[in-house]
Each structure stands twice: as C-alpha cells, then as structure tokens.
C-alpha cells in the first residue's frame, strides 16, 4: 500500500492552497478550455505567445487538489520555455503519471514536476494531474474545441 502522504505532499498542498499564475491573463493571445467530464474539473488556460516562446501563462478554474496543484506547477515550469520544450515536458509528464517513465531511473527534464509522480499509484487520479497538460498541448497546437479528458 502506498502512503497517502506521498500523493498529498506538502508542496502539492501548498500549490493547491496558493496556486501560482492563478489569474486571467489580459495579454493572452491564446485561450483554451479544459474539462474532465467524469469529475467536473474545469480550467481555462491563458497563453501569451511571443513567437515560439511562452512569454506568460495563467489559468483559472475549479478542481481537486491534484488538478489545481498540477496546473499551478505546470505554469511555473513552462513560463519562458519554447513550444518545443513545453511539448517535451508534456510528453514526459504524461508518461510519468501513467507509470511509463520512472523519473528516478530515466533521463528527463521534469525537475520539480516529479513531485507529482505519486499519482501513478492512483489510476483514477491520473486524469486530474494531466488535465492542465492536455489543455496546454491543445493550446500550443492552436486547437479550437475544448479539451476533454474522456
């Protein structure tokens, strides 16, 4: 049995309580909705792209601690990165929470995002952690329709 405190680490609880970049970005030139119909988690992601660089990023919405903390940490991680760098993080993060990438054994660029690796022990919560990343992925691809985890 995995200890529940490995999932709800202090850093995650802190991001849940005080999410970073939790605001509507007035300078945004891209906006993307993300929705998890299973649990009703909803988020709007705002991106200010400067060419291929994510110059600024913000989000708003409601959801569980995991989804909120994940969105908060994601915004902190990708701000200032290029589209390609963010896509690499999306791919690595996605594989990490699905248990396909072990950040302790395999080379990766995840840094602090590995705090969320505990999610892989809770299959029902993987979608909570990855909602914001799917939304970012869609925003970078410039898709028009809202993202759904279903």
């Amino acid at each position: 049995m995995s200890d529940i405190s490995e999932l709800y680490q202090q850093v995650i609880l802190d991001h849940n309580k005080k999410p970073r970049n939790f605001r509507k970005l007035e300078s945004a030139n891209r906006e993307q909705e993300g929705y998890n119909p299973l649990c009703g988690d909803q988020l709007t992601l705002y991106l200010e792209m400067d060419g291929k660089v994510i110059k600024d990023i913000g989000f708003q919405g409601s959801g569980c601690a995991i989804s909120k903390a994940s969105a908060s940490m994601m915004t902190a991680a990708v701000k200032g990165k290029t589209k390609d760098e963010a896509e690499v993080l999306f791919d690595e993060f996605h594989r990490m929470v699905k248990g396909e990438l072990d950040p302790e054994k395999e080379e990766n660029h995840l840094g602090r995002l590995t705090i969320l690796s505990g999610v892989r022990e809770y299959p029902a919560r993987v979608k909570c952690a990855s909602l914001s990343w799917h939304t970012l992925h869609a925003a970078l691809e410039n898709k028009d329709e809202a993202v759904s985890t279903e």
């Binding site: 049995m1 709800y8 609880l13 649990c39 009703g40 988690d41 959801g63 601690a65 809770y122 029902a124």
Partner: protein, 421 residues
Amino acid sequence: MQAQHEIENAMPAASDKLNIESIRRDFPILNLKVHGRQLVYLDNAATTQKPQVVLDAIQRYYTEQNSNVHRGVHYLSQLATREYEGARVKIQRFINAAESHEVIFTHGATEGINLIASSYGRKFVHEGDEVIISAMEHHSNIVPWQMLCEQVGAKLRIIPINEKGELLIDDLEAMINARTRLIALVHLSNALGTINPVKRVIDIAHSHDVPVLLDGAQATSHLKIDVQELDCDFYVFSGHKVCGPTGIGVLYGKSQWLESMPPFMGGGDMISSVSFEKTTYNSLPYKFEAGTPNIEGAIGLGVALDYLTGIGIDRIAEYENELLDYATEVIGSIPGVKLIGTAREKSSVLSFTLENIHPHDIGTILDQEGIAIRAGHHCAQPVMKFFNVPATARASFSFYNTKQEIDTLAEGIQRVIEVFG
C-alpha cells in the same frame, strides 16, 4: 441461506430488529480487504452488493439451465423459459403489478426511460406539447426527454426545488396545461436522498389526465413499491441497485399504455409474423423485448427480490432510516462538513462537502482507509449547479451497513482534515 433468514426473521425475537451479522454473512464481498483495511462499502446508491443466493442462481443457470428462451421445444429451453418467466412473476408480485405482462425486462432504469421517451414519445408527444421533469433528476431522466423534445419540437418544463432539496409541488399545478403529455419524476433522489411526494404528484397529474413515469432506480431497494396503490402509469428500476445483477432492469407500464405504444426495438421475439410486406408485432410483454434477453440477469433479479422480501422491505427501510439518522448526526457534526440535501422525507443518501477540500481528494483518502464512497456530480449536474458546488462526496447506505462503519467513515473524514491540515 435465504430459507435460514426466513426462519430467523420469522421467529418472535426479543425485538424486531434485523440480524445484521447474519445478513452480512450472506454477502461474501463484505469480507474483502482493501489497501490492507477491512472494506467499508458506502457506495450503495451507485450499486449494491450481491448476496450469495443471487451468485448461486447465476451459477446454477449456466451450469444446469442455460438455453435460449421462447424458442425451443427441447428440455433446456423450456426450463430456461420457465425460470425467466418465473422471474417476471416474482417482479410482478414485488411491485404489485396487476398483470405479469405489465413487467418488461430492460437492461436498466436508463433503458426503461429511453423506451418510454422513444415509444410513448413517438406516439403521443408532438410539436408544441410539453413534458415535465424536476430539478433533481438524474441525467438519465433529463437527456432522453431533451432528445425527444428536440426531435419533435416539444418543450421540457422543470419543477423547481428548494434549498433543502425538496420538490416545490405547489408549482406543479400551474405548470400543467392542455399540452402536458407526461410527468417524469424521480421517486428517491440519488444525489440528495429526497423522497418525493409521488402519490400527490400522481393525483394532481391524473386530475388533468396526464400520465406519470416514476424513476425508481434509487427507491426500489429502500421503499415498499406498490404500483397499483401509487397508480403510476410507468415505473422503472435497475436490478443492480436491489442486490441483483447488472444489465437487467424493469419497466412497469399499465397495460392500456403499453398496448397503445409502438415497439421500441425491432428484432426476434418481439414479432408474431414477419414477411417483407408486413410484420405483425407480438403481444405484451414480448413486443418490447427484442432479441435474446438477459436471462441470467432476470433470474438473478427474481432471486434478489425474494431475498429482500424474505428480510422484509419495511424492516430494511426502518433500519436504513436508523443508519441515516445516525450518520446525519455523526458526520453532520464534524466541523467543516456541510450536508447537501436535508429534505424532511429522506432515505439512505448522505451527500456532503468538506470545507474547501474537493470531493475527489476526500474519496481518494477515504479509499486508502478501505472506505468506498462516491465523489463527483452523481450524474446530476443541474443539482450540483443549484447548490453551487462542483461536486459532493456521497455516502449511501444499505441494510448490511452498520453504525460502526459510519464511525469508521467519521474517522476517515478526520484523516482527510489532517492530511489537508
């Protein structure tokens, strides 16, 4: 085992209380360990567990009776048909329907509602007509009506609720008019636990010659259902919420309605004769049962209802009310807990929120303690919107639950509060 219950329960015991220890032994899954803890199953509104007699009946069907029904002259087909039709009669008695052909097997309450929306809807609901539902419906009693209304150009009207989660029945009378074709109402709300005053609704509706469909998915395991006394026109429920198997359900309809409605699905078993020029439909109930049915499901459901009857629905209801009262007090008094749904007439469901902690986080932490609850919108998003919450945590009780399990839930909630500091 069922016989044993009947004997125990028939004995003039010191009190008329249920013997919960004995009942729990009938449900093998209740012994399960989850994450190293004793399972505390409090998600009965989603589905109930199955007693050994139901599991045995399904096993017996496939080892001794399996064949297709209504088709064969051979021994097994006749045996399977007898068991399948026997189950129909058991259901007829359980809900006190006047005729066994008023009992239609479906795959669940959802299919039952869709059948009525499609069949009754095609025949009787036209452009400009109206269908009335309530603000506390499950999606399965909203979406089929939206689909119908969109198809034919009819209007869907909603009976409002108050902040306790009670139906504002006084608004109903003014809502009914010459274009009202049907009222479809939940008997017992899955998200709030509210028991609706269905008899009064039916009386009001009938005084305007409007038929009433009751969604009994949640009610059937907690309340005594007598469709003749209620005088409802349609009643639907699911087998898996009354200790029966999944994939089987019941639509009850008054003969005169079912006779006048076109078939829902076409196929085998629902016809009398077929030629490329003309097909004649079979009589009730077969007109509405196209294709090979869920035979073991029907048989299992019959046995499940026998099991509940053996214990006694009235005694089940009394004990479950005791559990709900206890849970309301114990869980409701935890600082930060807010109960959603506080109707005066209520049963078996305790929906709540806990400060700013999202129900999914509550659900995950409780799960690690072996406690199964539901966290989410309970397929009732309009209800969540009314109470202005994205989701709730929901503990729902059955007669095999105990007050100790509710204490364990209370300890689990304390653990959630600890984790979130």
